[in-house]
Every structure is written in structure tokens, then in C-alpha cells.
């Protein structure tokens, strides 16, 4: 006898992307594993959204640099995803009797895991990506999907008209039924951008995945192939408008901005939200210590930090040290960064484990900033050592150690 729990909806999280526009920050990890918001990683957001929406079975599709992500997800325990039936599963591409191949596109990644999904015989499948920061109740979206009797419901969000050329745009009728999908249009007819969150009726999705796989010309991509195919066949596709904070943190600028959004009380990304907590793997560090010479304003500081310098408008991840006389402003210091005595770090993202030498300057800028504009963001890569008294101009990406210049 086999006990098997049928699930109404399971989630498939596409976490294989490199996030190449994040440059040195994704040299060693996939984009979903990039730290965000003082103690989290980007993937904590879709994972926590799932759990808070009552979805307890999640396939995490990995491909690019999966090691860190695999170790991070582990048994899924921090998200309450170590379940008797279901839970979190890492799904890398695999070999089978017919051979095997890399995930060719987003749709192909799901196609290669048809058997996994069928194990839970779900009615609906939620497709997510691990690239966005937002808090969303997928259950409400499912109610909408059922109410509309849709084959597929796509979550959309209003974006400024001038940015529509960066998104997949949905053109809908008054009933929110999608009649046209434009990928990064020059002349958009609507400003409803796809958030990369889809609910499919599993039976329909399975059919179109199999069809799509048969088409040798197809790029096997949801946006480029599968959704247009469904539109051609007049399937009921509906847009579900999400009103809240949503951000693609795909570029250095966007990553910096959305981290800063955490510090802005006027922006609706409240992380201190007990009914909708964002869960993360905890670091087991002692509490932070704020020493005698510290001055802190408008900042978020995590466990294990040691602060003896000045911190303004900044986000410090666990285990960061800022020594006496150092100034950190408008910056993001990822785990275990050290800023030595009298160093100045401004408008920068400093990746995990980097060491900023004594009296050095990161993000140096001579011109006066215009109103509403800030200087370009500098980035220091993982485990990089910046020697004492180095000067790194604003907008520089430091991907190799900077050695001491002898005078």
C-alpha cells in the first residue's frame, strides 16, 4: 500500500539563471543566492511566499553554479519545507535512458521534470523565478485563476510607461483576459508587465509543454513560445494585477536600489511583518556589538557585526566589522566584510568576505551630485582585498585584489 498525498498546487522555482548583469556578484553563485536585505537571499522571497501561501511542495530548478544554492536549501528546514509529503527538492538536469541535456529554456526545464510534477498529481502548477523581491499571496492568485476558469493566469504589475521596453507586456480586455503578449515592445499598448509568476492548470501546461518540445524550432521558453502558443489556440489566459512592491534585482543599480528601499519607510517593502515573515537560513552568530566610537543612523545591522565607525543609510549583513574612524554610507556590506580604520565606503556594494584596507576610499567622487541623482555604484567582489590607502573611483567594479602601492 502506498500513501501519497495529492497536492492541489505545487510550485516550480526557476533558479538556474546566472544573472550575468550582476557581474562579479554572481561569479560563484546563481542569482537567486545573492544576498538581499540585511540577512536574506533573493530566493528567500519566493520560498517564503510559497510557505506563507500554504504551498509546501517546491521544485527548485538549478543549473548555473548550483553548489551554494544546494547547500543553502538543504533539507528546506528554515522555510518549514522538510515535510513528510512534499517539501523542497533541488532539481538539476539529469541523465536518463534516452540521454540527457541541459535545461534549454524555462519551458524545457519544466518539461524535463514532468515526472516530478506528476508524482503529486496537482491540479495547478505555480511557476516562479528566483530573481525578484516581493511579498505576494499566491493563494489569492489561485482563487482568481479558478474564478476565471483560466488555463493560465499571469501575475502583472503596472510599470512606468517609459520602462515598458524592459518587460514582457500583457495586453488585456476589460475582463483582464490577455489577447496579446509583447516581449520588450518598442511601442507598448499597455503598461502591465509580467512578473514571471504564472499559475497553470496542470493538464493544460503538460499538453503545451509536450507540444512545444516537439517543435524543433522552439526556444522552449515560456514568454517566447509557450504563452504565445496558448494565445494562438485561444486558451483562456488572464492577467492578475498585483499591487505591491515588486522588483527585478537583475542589475547592480537595481540591487542597490531595492536594498535601499528596505530602509525607506515610505516604500511598501516591510520585512518586519510577523504574519508574512521572510524566512532564511540563520547564521548562528553572537548578537551585534556597537562599540564606543560608533555613530549609526538610518541603517539595518545584522547579528555578529562589530561597529566602531560611522554608518549611514546602509545595510550590513551578518558578521561585518567596521573599525574606528571608518565611514560607511549608502552602501551594502554583505556577510563578513571588514572595513578597516579610517576607510571610507560610499555608494558601494561590497561582496561577502571582502576586506577594505585602512584609509582606503571606495566610491570616490569629485563632482557634486545633482538633485535626485547619485553617483554610480561601485562593487567590490567576493573575498577581494583592497590594500590600505587605495582609491576606488565611483562606478568601478573591483574583481581582483588591489595591492599596496609603495610610495
Amino acid at each position: 500500500m502506498r500513501h501519497r498525498q495529492k497536492k492541489e498546487m505545487i510550485a516550480m522555482l526557476l533558479a538556474g539563471g546566472q544573472g550575468s548583469r550582476l557581474g562579479v556578484l554572481t561569479n560563484d553563485v546563481a542569482k537567486p543566492a545573492v544576498p538581499f536585505g540585511g540577512k536574506y537571499r533573493i530566493i528567500d522571497f519566493p520560498l517564503s511566499n510559497c510557505v506563507n501561501s500554504g504551498i509546501d511542495t517546491i521544485g527548485v530548478l538549478t543549473q548555473y553554479r548550483p553548489l551554494e544554492l544546494n547547500a543553502y536549501i538543504g533539507s528546506g528546514q528554515p522555510w518549514d519545507l522538510d515535510r513528510l509529503y512534499g517539501g523542497a527538492f533541488i532539481l538539476p538536469p539529469y541523465q536518463s535512458f534516452q540521454g540527457g541535456e541541459w535545461y534549454k529554456g524555462t519551458a524545457n526545464a519544466i518539461y524535463q521534470n514532468l515526472e516530478f510534477i506528476d508524482m503529486y498529481s496537482p491540479e495547478y502548477v505555480l511557476i516562479l523565478s528566483g530573481d525578484h523581491v516581493y511579498k505576494m499571496n499566491y493563494n489569492q492568485m489561485l482563487d482568481y485563476h479558478k474564478g476565471k476558469n483560466a488555463s493560465c493566469t499571469l501575475a502583472v504589475i503596472q510599470v512606468p510607461w517609459e520602462e515598458t521596453d524592459r518587460f514582457g507586456v500583457m495586453n488585456t480586455d476589460e475582463e483582464m483576459r490577455v489577447y496579446e503578449f509583447q516581449e520588450k515592445p518598442k511601442e507598448a499598448k499597455s503598461n502591465l508587465a509580467s512578473m514571471g509568476v504564472y499559475i497553470f492548470t496542470w493538464e493544460k501546461l503538460k499538453h503545451y509543454l509536450i507540444q512545444d518540445e516537439l517543435n524543433k524550432e522552439s526556444a522552449n521558453d515560456f514568454g517566447k513560445n509557450l504563452i504565445p502558443d496558448m494565445l494562438v489556440n485561444d486558451e483562456p489566459l488572464f492577467a492578475y494585477e498585483f499591487k505591491g512592491y515588486w522588483k527585478d534585482v537583475g542589475t547592480i543599480q537595481a540591487l542597490w536600489e531595492s536594498n535601499m528601499d528596505v530602509l525607506d519607510p515610505l516604500i511598501p517593502l516591510e520585512l518586519d511583518d510577523p504574519p508574512w515573515r521572510i524566512y532564511t537560513r540563520s547564521s548562528n552568530l553572537p548578537p551585534q556589538f556597537v562599540a564606543e566610537h560608533a555613530t549609526i543612523s538610518n541603517s539595518s545591522i545584522a547579528d555578529g557585526c562589530f561597529i566602531d565607525g560611522t554608518i549611514e543609510n546602509s545595510i550590513l549583513f551578518p558578521g561585518v566589522t567596521v573599525e574606528m574612524g571608518a565611514v560607511v554610507s549608502n552602501s551594502i556590506l554583505m556577510p563578513n566584510v571588514t572595513v578597516e580604520k579610517d576607510a571610507i565606503v560610499e555608494y558601494a556594494i561590497i561582496a561577502r568576505g571582502a576586506q577594505i584596507g585602512q584609509s582606503s576610499q571606495i566610491g570616490q567622487w569629485k563632482r557634486v551630485e545633482k538633485e535626485g541623482m547619485h553617483r554610480d555604484i561601485s562593487v567590490v567582489g567576493e573575498d577581494i582585498t583592497v590594500a590600505a590607502r587605495s582609491v576606488v573611483p565611483a562606478g568601478t567594479v573591483v574583481s581582483a585584489d588591489i595591492e599596496e602601492v609603495s610610495v
Binding site: G38, S282, P286, V290, I301
Partner: protein, 374 residues
């Protein structure tokens, strides 16, 4: 290691006033985000002792809540793992006087202790904070051929007054335990060997000694096993030379916390990880106008006021213009605008309303009971 760890979660007597009225000593908050039991428990785990029994006596609700199944200490195990042993009464007539002493407590839980696979037992209280090398301790115990090894320290971390009731051990030239004194006059002469309450013993011997003592109506480990059997058993000492904090009264509790503000002490105390229950709270938020110096701040705090020389637990809110000095603030407490606190211990879930002032003294801190509104 082939060892069962036993932690007594309560103190037989303490003068912690309101702090232990609603909770057992082991779940008393310490150093911001920890509870007392995290220190001995993490010590066991860090030394590879993954079979641990916690003996509970009363008011252990908060302890159960903190420990759960032991996940954060990695003690959810098929072989061994964490067991919290609630009171088990052996005699019908003694319902109201559960556990007349540590021997009684061991006897009450012998059914569980006997079942474990370990050959040795290391026992500890939860009134002390230390980081001990249990591997070396066990090695020395085996090498010396001792029946019982009693761990002592000659340095109670600058404790100005040794708590009365502390046990002093006397050894002869060969290092064999001779006699036991109970500190009554607060004497603290150099070279005195203070019992830490940590013992190593073979499990089978412990079973026999406990059964014998119970049959004779003897219930106290120090007096009725160590002292009474000092001629019969080979009882030896092991000097622990690291840091040690002892918590048995309010001043001592305050002082133990304040020790964590020294960087040297923190380095020693956190050299190995100290595990605790994870709360999934957000990182601490500091707002414009806050002033923090020489303080421990835990995650989930929101700081708008001034904090000096203080230890702030998780989820504490400190309003604009509030000043917190030389104080210990436990979790989820709210200190509103303009409040002044000096030498105060605020327990959990306390609310201090606008502009209130509370001042204690280093020798007698003000203690505000859990859940109070001032």
C-alpha cells in the same frame, strides 16, 4: 563521544527574585539573544556529545518552548539527541516536594538515563556559563582511574563575593578529594577550589550510587555522595582554567551580562558557536537620532533613542529621546519616548510608558517583572 550529558535546568536555591518567578533558571535570558541553557548545551554539542538529557522541575514551560525538539542545537537524532525530562514522582506522599535533591532528581529519571547507550555521564547545572573542553576532561577522568571527577575552578571571574552556598572542595597531596565545605562567610581566598557542579562518572556507577543513596534517604549529590563516600570512592579534581560566570542572584545576573560587553570576554565566550532558538526576526534597525555605544543589540530591535553599556534582547523597541544605561532589556519590551533607565533589568514583554524614570544601583538593580506596564 561515549557520553550522556545531563543538565539540571533549575537551581535548588536562588535569589533571582522576579526573574525566576515565571521561569526555570535554564531559560533565563542572557547576553542579548541567548538563554542560560544555551551555554552548557552548546558546549556539549561542540564537543560531540549529542545525547543530552535536561532535567526539569517546575515552571519549565519557557524552557520547553525554547528547546523545542532540539533542532537549533542539531540534537534531533535517532541515536541520542535531546530529551527534556519533566518531573517524575517516585512516591505518592511526596507529590508536593518533588525532588528533594539532585539524587532524587536522578533517581526519578533513572528509567530514561539507564536506557541511553553512553558509558559515561557528564553532569552540569545551568547556573554557570563556561566553555570547557569535555574531551580532555573525559580523558583525564579515564586516565586517572577516578570513580568521580569533580570540576573546580580557582577563579570565579572576579566575583567580588562568592555566593553563599557555593561548595569548596579539598584535595590531599595525591589529588584525592577529602572534604567539602559550604561557603557561609563569603570568603574568597586565593587557591580555593570552588566546585563548578560539573562531574564525570561512569553511568553504571551513578546508577548504583543513586540507588544506594535513595535507599538511605540521602538526596544531595555534594553532601551525600561526595562527602559521605570520600573515603570509599576515588574522587578526583579537574581544574577548569577558562572563564566562568555564575548566576545565583540578581547582582550576579547583571554582572554576568555586563561581562559580555568586554571584547576579550566575548572573544572567549563565542570562540565556539553558541546555538539558540532562531526567531526569524529582521536585522536590527537604527533610526536617525539614535545613539548607541558599548552595547549588545539583538536582531528585531528598533532603536531611536540612546543606549549605553546595555544588553538589548531581540525585538526591543526604544523610542525617541529614551535613554537606557547600564541595563539589561529582555525580548519584545517596549521603551517609549523620553524614558530614562539606569541599572534596570526589564524582563520580557514589559512596556515603559513615556517619560518614566527608573534608577537602580550596581549593587541592587531594579527588576521589572515580565509583562509589567509602567
Amino acid at each position: 563521544m561515549n557520553v550522556l550529558g545531563i543538565i539540571f535546568s533549575y537551581a535548588e536555591q536562588d535569589s533571582l527574585r522576579e526573574l525566576t518567578r515565571h521561569r526555570t533558571l535554564a531559560s533565563l535570558p542572557m547576553a542579548g539573544r541567548y538563554r542560560m541553557i544555551d551555554f552548557p548545551l552548546s558546549n556539549f554539542v561542540n564537543d560531540g556529545i549529542t545525547d543530552v538529557s535536561v532535567i526539569a522541575l517546575k515552571n519549565f514551560h519557557s524552557l520547553m518552548d525554547h528547546l523545542g525538539a532540539g533542532r537549533e542545537w542539531d540534537l534531533i537524532r535517532k541515536r541520542g539527541g535531546l530529551r527534556v525530562l519533566p518531573p517524575f514522582s517516585m512516591t505518592e506522599s511526596d507529590r508536593d516536594k518533588l525532588y528533594r535533591g539532585s539524587i532524587d532528581a536522578l533517581a526519578g529519571n533513572m528509567h530514561s538515563i539507564r536506557r541511553t547507550l553512553a558509558e559515561y555521564v557528564i553532569m552540569t547545572g545551568s547556573n554557570i556559563i563556561y566553555s570547557m573542553d569535555f574531551k580532555t576532561l573525559l580523558e583525564q577522568h579515564i586516565e586517572s582511574g577516578a570513580d568521580i571527577t569533580a570540576v573546580y575552578t580557582k577563579d570565579l571571574n572576579g566575583h567580588p563575593t562568592v555566593p553563599s552556598g557555593a561548595m569548596i572542595l579539598h584535595f590531599n597531596e595525591e589529588g584525592r578529594f577529602q572534604e567539602l565545605y559550604v561557603n557561609k562567610e563569603n570568603i574568597n581566598q586565593p587557591g580555593t577550589a570552588w566546585s563548578t557542579g560539573v562531574f564525570v562518572i561512569k553511568k553504571s556507577l551513578l546508577e548504583t550510587l543513586v540507588a544506594d543513596a535513595m535507599a538511605l534517604g540521602k538526596y544531595h549529590f555534594h553532601e551525600d555522595i561526595l562527602r559521605r563516600l570520600s573515603k570509599v570512592l576515588n574522587i578526583r579534581g579537574y581544574e577548569y582554567k577558562g572563564f566562568l560566570l555564575e548566576v545565583s542572584n540578581v547582582t550576579g545576573y547583571m554582572q554576568a551580562n555586563m561581562n559580555f560587553l568586554s571584547s576579550g570576554f566575548r572573544e572567549a565566550a563565542f570562540q565556539r558557536p553558541i546555538y539558540t532558538k532562531s526567531k526569524d526576526s529582521v536585522p536590527a534597525r537604527y533610526f536617525d537620532g539614535c545613539k548607541v555605544s558599548n552595547s549588545i543589540i539583538s536582531d528585531g530591535c528598533r532603536i531611536e533613542g540612546t543606549v549605553e553599556n546595555s544588553l538589548i534582547s531581540r525585538g526591543v523597541r526604544i523610542g525617541k529621546g529614551a535613554v537606557v544605561r547600564n541595563s539589561v532589556v529582555m525580548q519584545n519590551t517596549e521603551i517609549m519616548r523620553g524614558v530614562h533607565l539606569d541599572h534596570v533589568i526589564l524582563d520580557k514583554d514589559v512596556i515603559v510608558r513615556e517619560n518614566r524614570r527608573l534608577t537602580g544601583h550596581i549593587t541592587y538593580p531594579v527588576v521589572i517583572e515580565k509583562g509589567s506596564i509602567i
